[in-house]
């Protein structure tokens, strides 16, 4: 399947913005992806092997977190995976700032 790589992570894929990775499930694909591009592992996953909280992954147009089978979802060569780090912020000094 094709995996779309966001700008900041392309330094770890030799500049490629899309890479084609084989696999039967999303877990397989991630495993092959980080085998082929080892430096991506630290960028995408925390020490417990879970996706970092700010890393959004979309399977075609569906958020991975809301797929019934999540990473165990079966994939085909024509499916697409998009990795997109979150973008947020604001002038609030911290999470404890009053919202309103």
């Amino acid at each position: 399947m094709n995996i779309h790589i966001p700008t900041p992570l392309r330094v770890y894929t030799g500049g490629a913005e899309t890479v084609s990775i084989p696999g039967a499930t999303i877990t397989d694909v991630f495993s092959s992806l980080t085998t082929q591009f080892p430096e991506l592992k630290q960028q995408l996953f925390n020490n417990e092997g879970k996706l970092r909280s700010f890393v959004n992954v979309y399977f075609n147009d569906e958020d991975l977190r809301y797929l019934p089978e999540k990473e165990a979802t079966s994939v085909t060569d024509t499916d697409e995976l998009t990795i997109i780090p979150s973008i947020a912020g604001g002038s609030a000094c911290c999470s404890c700032c009053p919202l309103l």
């Binding site: 700008t7 958020d63 912020g89 002038s91 000094c93 309103l100």
Partner: protein
């Protein structure tokens, strides 16, 4: 260095005035060009894209771009042969400096984060910060100069002398 046409620079600032007292946000599309002597890369903006702020619960001091919108913008960039090279947002009645929240939520290393302070509804100062480092653990914001290209505006005015 962040290189941007004057019209895009002005549009960014107007966006902040339009959404005041709420924060605006958007995406900078362009190309990242290597610099000589190990200097940070130059992010050259070719197009800006307005985005919606999903933080309606606290839009006066927070912003968030929905991932689905970000994916749509990334696809748009790919079609144009461009990359996402940065983001912009406003700080209503707050300085144009990155906040702890901005830093905690910044994950696009190598990208420019542009902040415009909007004071009483009027755009004031615009600053850019380059997110550098290699991982979440060693990332940092560095002040980034903004180079504004006014030649494009002059060229457009020359073509259309009736434009005000």
């Amino acid at each position: 260095m962040l290189h941007i046409d004057y019209s895009d620079y002005a549009t960014m600032r107007v966006h902040g005035e339009e959404t005041y007292p709420h924060e605006c946000c958007g995406v900078l599309l362009g190309r990242s060009e290597p610099s000589a002597n190990g200097a940070p890369p130059r992010n050259r903006v070719r197009q800006i894209v307005r985005a919606g702020n999903t933080r309606t619960d606290s839009a006066h001091n927070r912003y968030n771009i929905a991932p689905q919108e970000l994916i749509r913008i990334q696809r748009q960039a790919r079609t144009l042969g461009l990359d996402i090279v940065g983001f912009y947002h406003s700080h209503p009645d707050h300085p144009a400096q990155w906040s702890p929240t901005d830093f905690a939520e910044a994950h696009w290393i190598g990208c420019s984060y542009v902040i415009t302070s909007v004071e009483q509804g009027k755009a004031a100062i615009t600053n850019s910060f380059l997110l550098t480092g290699t991982t979440e653990e060693d990332k940092r914001f560095e002040d980034q100069g903004i180079e504004i290209d006014v030649a494009q505006v002059h060229a457009k005015r020359h073509k259309n002398p009736t434009e005000r």
